[in-house]
Amino acid sequence: MDTGTTTTKPKRVLCIEDELFISELYTRALTKAGYQVDVQLDGQKGMAAAQTDAYDIILLDLMIPSITGIEVLRTLRDPAKTPKMHAKIIVTTNLEQRKDIRADIEQQADGYLVKAEITPRELVEFLNKLDV
């Protein structure tokens, strides 16, 4: 009978990222920090995985195969297409965006990070601060 301690379930992270090495880098750091990480290298598959609502945080790369990250973002934020998804979406990218496009992205996502600007440790700290 376990009445006292409540074990906090590890937060589940979906990393939609096509650069294998970067996904490994993030997986390592996040796993060490106590997150449970799944990686999807393909955009369509990643979107489908996100729509299962099995994740608390989604790290969404913008430059991915088979569908653009922006498309994925729009679909996940469209209540008609994604009726139920509680996860926070953090856009990660190494692309330099036009300001109006970036503003549009930031409005739909819960965070916007430039990968080259952020070390794994800083990423972990950023996610820790998210309210999930």
Binding site: M63, N94, L95, E96, R98, K99, A116, T119, P120, R121
Partner: protein, 513 residues
């Protein structure tokens, strides 16, 4: 006066006297023979008289010819004188004594006048021909061509111009060129400064500008082109300045699209950078405790180098845009306190790592400001980052924001660190300028302040620095209250408040001066 009548009288008179004289001589000769030479028979007398008569008539016709034809000769000479193929080069003396002098002079003058008129007509015809020729060239030229007068008013704009700007040529003619074309240039070398200089210094001048931008009304879209100008002072037709536009909008605007070469390069550079920085951090974590101080120092250097590269890559695109006059800002109303707090929050991490606190002092009722949030964030981040980098040994940075006496929102970032040598201070906002003394220890790209100044300038503000070696530096910049920005935008017909890195998209000469 009837010069013709006079001539006929004179000729009649002349002939009368000449013939009378000859007759008189013949009669006299006959009388002499009759009185003193009676031995001669009538036949001999007749023959003698005939011979005398013949000689006399020959003499008369010789001398008379000249006098009678002189008027015509003179006239002929006058005509030859002005004939286009040349002939007599010198004009005849119209005052010489001759039969019908006045008539000849009169006719000669008529001829001269006629000739002068003909020349004038020819000239006019050839001018018209030139105009016709020019019109053919100008109207067929597939490049926009404009001609301005000395007041910089458009005198002529060809077909291509009206197509290019989407305005009928009639609308353009008569307009001031700066009103018709809201041009913005890459630098202070603008069309109006060039025309001013040329007008005061030279008789003719030509100049080229690259990456000139014209804002199109409404959409915030713009055209990008190269401009060539030719100036000639006091042109007799009033054609003082000739302008030709070479459109490059497609080529130059490629950087606006995410898939341009520079944009892709940025992405390609960042991907390995992400890995480098990431695994350097991993090594630092895993091996840190086991490394000798020397090796640890090497790790620090690797990390600094990777960060430096990342910072440079961040700036590439912006600097490229400034160079190509493509950096555009959208000014919106923002709460300045809000903006500052965001930046300070983000940079507190970096500051904290070095044991530095950022202390803010923001005046309570600052007016809302007109800024492009992303760009002005970069300015604040750059100044704070510099302050952190150069704060060796100290642990405080002050950030203050007040309303200055000119009514502008003035923000200062003050550090108490290394300071900047007075000899370097004037160059500190130059592109790639680095303080060489500190280059080894302090990372940086030499672009941060260059970009910051470009952005502050584009906002209509000013950035300045005060510094003393080993005492620290204070960087101060101003931004305009939103009300001012809005007013300026309205008066320049730019309600969407779009600005390029070198000023309002509309390069209105009134505003500039």
């Amino acid at each position: 006066m009837d010069f013709l009548g006079k001539l006929r009288q004179q000729v009649k008179l002349y002939l009368f006297w000449v013939l009378l004289l000859e007759n008189a001589l013949l009669i006299g000769a006959w009388w002499a023979v009759h009185v003193y030479h009676q031995e001669l028979s009538p036949l001999e007398t007749l023959i003698g008289m005939s011979i005398l008569g013949l000689f006399g008539t020959l003499l008369v016709s010789e001398t008379a010819e000249k006098r009678v034809t002189q008027p015509i000769i003179t006239l002929w000479q006058a005509i030859q004188h002005i004939a286009p193929q040349g002939g007599e080069e010198r004009a005849p003396d119209l005052n010489q004594k001759q039969l019908g002098r006045e008539l000849v002079a009169n006719l000669a003058n008529h001829v001269y006048q006629l000739a002068s008129t003909v020349q004038a007509v020819e000239k006019t015809n050839s001018k018209a021909a030139q105009n016709l020729h020019a019109n053919f060239v100008a109207s067929s030229l597939p490049l926009p061509l404009l001609v301005l007068d000395k007041d910089e008013t458009i005198v002529y704009a060809n077909e291509a111009t009206s197509k290019y700007l989407g305005k009928p040529a009639d609308d353009l003619a008569g307009q001031n060129v700066y009103t018709a074309l809201d041009m913005s240039f890459k630098s202070d070398d603008t069309l109006s400064t060039w025309l001013k200089n040329s007008a005061s210094k030279t008789a003719t001048a030509s100049h080229k500008w690259e990456h000139v931008r014209i804002g199109l009304p409404g959409q915030g879209d713009s055209l990008l082109f190269d401009l060539a100008g030719y100036y000639n002072k006091d042109n007799s037709l009033g054609y003082e300045t000739l302008l030709i536009l070479f459109d490059h909008t497609e080529v130059y605007s490629q950087d606006d699209q995410a898939m341009s070469f520079v944009a892709i390069s940025v992405h390609e550079l960042r991907t390995p950078l992400t890995l480098l920085r990431g695994y350097i951090e991993v090594f630092d974590e895993e091996l840190g405790p086991t490394l000798t101080p020397e090796l640890k120092e090497f790790m620090v250097k690797m990390d600094a180098a990777a960060q430096q590269l990342a910072a440079f890559v961040d700036n590439i695109l912006n600097v490229a845009k400034i160079e190509d006059n493509q950096l555009t800002l959208q000014l919106h109303e923002e709460n300045w306190q809000n903006v500052i707090e965001t930046v300070v929050n983000d940079l507190n991490l970096r500051a904290g790592v070095r044991g530095i606190t950022i202390k803010t002092d923001i005046a309570p009722d600052l007016p809302s400001v007109g800024v492009d949030r992303y760009s002005i964030y970069e300015v604040l981040a750059n100044l704070l980052d510099n302050a952190i980098k150069y704060s060796k040994g100290t642990n405080e940075i002050y950030l203050t924001a007040t309303l200055n006496k000119e009514g502008l929102v003035e923000t200062s970032v003050k550090d108490f660190g290394l300071g900047i040598d007075a000899s370097i201070l004037p160059h500190i906002f130059d592109k790639f300028y680095r303080n060489h003394r500190n280059r080894a220890q302090i990372g940086g790209t030499g672009l941060g302040l260059y970009l910051s100044r470009a952005i502050v300038d584009a906002h209509g503000g000013e950035i300045t620095v005060n510094s003393k070696v080993n005492e620290g530096s204070t960087f101060t910049f101003t931004v305009l209250p939103f009300s001012q920005v809005q007013e300026a935008g309205k008066s320049l017909g730019n309600p969407s408040l779009t600005r390029s890195a070198h000023g309002w998209i509309k390069n209105h000469s009134l505003y500039r001066d």
